[in-house]
């Protein structure tokens, strides 16, 4: 997409859980301003890669470079302070904190002076959260929790946002809204996004580029359109997506 050095570059990353190797040498780039999606079957290692970028678990081999800086050996909280945010798999809302406190946690590393402004911005994106502001995170519905998880990540004003299955468990309409919000943030604020999705059809349409992961290896990569057109992708990942697409067309 650009000739500049990528914002995030992952090179030859190998990650293990005990003596099980989950990632066998991953190469992946995310350029400034891009939406990049990572698709793959359950257990392929997508979430492992997202967390390896944050140093937990730490890469056994290889290098992760962000903004020209090698972050492979940094601690998770140090990486978070470099303006990378993650809405991780499983949402991980602080269940005994209110919606407001969850957002404050997200804003932890941001300038305190920005807080009100950012909060207003979040409320325009997710009006539902405004209504629920004093409610404990654990009592929100699944969809509301997902919104909160993304909102919390946005509160740190990230330059790079990692989203791990943001549409999981959401009604199709809400999932659409979330994808629209991501696309919109990317267009308006140049937010760079690395997106893991089960819903490969939506993800590939949304993303500039995509990677396909199988058993801890990247097997294919290309622009979203290229990948959408490949028969093996259609066969493996787009069954549900195609039905949805036809349903939408009707």
């Amino acid at each position: 997409m650009t000739v500049n050095a990528p914002l995030l570059s992952v090179r030859g990353v190998k990650t293990c859980y005990g003596n099980i190797t989950a990632l066998h040498g991953i190469d992946l780039d995310v350029h400034d301003g891009e939406i990049v999606t990572l698709i793959g079957a359950n257990g392929a290692g997508k979430s492992t890669l997202m967390m390896t970028i944050f140093g937990n678990p730490r890469a056994r081999e290889g290098r992760i470079v962000y903004q020209g800086r090698d972050i492979t050996q940094l601690q998770t909280h140090e990486i978070a302070r470099l303006n990378i945010a993650q809405a991780p798999e499983g949402r991980r809302i602080f269940s005994r904190m209110t919606v407001m406190e969850n957002l404050q946690m997200g804003a932890q590393i941001a300038e305190p002076g920005h807080f009100q402004e950012d909060l207003e911005r979040i409320f325009t994106l997710f009006p539902r959260l405004k209504e629920r502001i004093g409610q404990r995170g654990g009592t929100l519905s699944g969809g509301e929790q997902q919104m909160l998880s993304i909102a919390r990540a946005l509160m740190s004003r990230p330059r790079l946002l990692l989203l791990d299955e943001p549409s999981l468990g959401l009604a199709p309409l809400i999932a659409r809204q979330i994808f629209d919000i991501i696309a919109d943030l990317n267009r308006r604020t140049k937010l760079t996004v690395l997106l893991v999705e089960q819903n490969a059809f939506h993800a590939l349409r949304l993303a500039h580029r995509g990677y396909v992961m199988v058993n801890g290896r990247i097997t294919l990569s290309g622009t979203g359109k290229e990948l959408l057109d490949r028969p093996e992708i259609r066969a493996a990942y787009l069954e549900g997506g195609r039905q949805e697409a036809t349903a939408e067309a009707r």
Partner: protein, 305 residues
């Protein structure tokens, strides 16, 4: 009736001390799921720090104002005790994190024995005393020659405890430090993703717990006038009982549990047998564990995950 009111007053005083210690148990358990068995001995060490500080102030520096010296003793005690606890966490617990579950517990028992023996060697095995202070009493009730009194010491203990609990409540519920602390309690991995330094937050938790225990230690010394190297054990277990009774992990629970244990102990002493007051407190632990294992304010497990 008079006896009851008097024991109520005494029980609340004792309960304040237990409550302050119990917060340290409950916070550490909340954040790393470990019973810090050395906490009672940290409390004992803080009593000795207060003792030494008080003697230095009165005999060497000649400070005569009781309130000024009490204030200085409290500050010095909180600082030094925090340092002790911080060091213990760094040396004896942190390296074992991620090891098998019982490892930090065993390490804590080791630290407990170490602190006890260290003080025994350094300060001698006998009771150490401070000159009595703040002995004046206020008579609140009198009938048939039986006076119900509140001593100045007790008033000081109530006031200091109340002030500290308010300050502490403010820090935990309103500041970003307190939020980070609670976030680590709920989900350390997510907390670190938002930029919280989890190890540092755990250290701070130990420091806060120790500072509160130091206040309790100073109050204990002032209240009883004597302290010995073995005084960490029984008050420590009572405070732990208080934390369990209140619901381990719950800070308000620790305070309520502390007050209840203090009251049970003083009431038992008055109406049954003073010799068995410790047995009464520990029976509460056993009964709680059997019939109310989650404690009074224990977390209901109804959260969505």
């Amino acid at each position: 009736m008079e006896v009851f009111v008097q024991q109520l007053i005494n029980g609340i005083t004792l309960g304040s001390i237990y409550g302050l210690i119990a917060i340290g148990y409950t916070m550490v358990f909340g954040i790393i799921g470990m019973v810090n068995f050395a906490h009672g001995d940290v409390f004992m060490v803080s009593s000795f720090i207060a003792l030494v500080a008080a003697l230095v102030l009165t005999t060497w520096l000649g400070i005569s104002s009781v309130f000024l010296s009490l204030f200085i003793v409290l500050i010095v005690g909180m600082l030094l005790t925090s340092l002790v606890s911080w060091t213990i966490e760094r040396l004896a617990y942190r390296p074992l994190r991620g090891s098998f579950r019982l490892a930090p517990l065993i390490s804590a028992i080791g630290m407990s024995i170490f602190l006890m023996n260290f003080v025994q060697v350094a300060q001698g095995p006998r009771n150490k005393a401070v000159p009595p202070m703040l002995q004046q009493v206020i008579v609140v009730m009198e009938r048939d020659g039986y006076e119900v009194t509140v001593s100045y010491r007790q008033l000081v203990i109530w006031a200091v405890t109340a002030f500290l609990l308010l300050a502490f409540w403010y820090v935990v519920s309103k500041t970003s430090l307190g939020r980070a602390q609670r976030a680590c309690e709920q989900d350390q991995k997510m907390a670190s993703l938002t930029g919280v330094d989890v190890d540092q937050t755990i250290s701070i938790t130990f420091v806060i717990g120790a500072a509160l225990a130091a206040v309790a230690g100073t109050m204990y010394l002032m209240y009883y006038g004597v302290v010995s190297f073995s005084d960490g054990f029984v008050p420590g277990i009572k405070a732990f009982t208080a934390a369990v009774l209140g619901g381990i992990g719950s800070i308000p629970g620790a305070v309520i549990g502390g007050l209840l244990i203090g009251l049970i102990e003083t009431m038992w002493s008055a109406y049954f047998s003073i010799d068995y007051k410790d047995v009464a407190a520990f029976s509460v632990l056993v009964i709680t564990l059997i019939f109310l294992p989650q404690g009074i304010l224990g977390r209901p497990e109804v959260e969505k995950v």
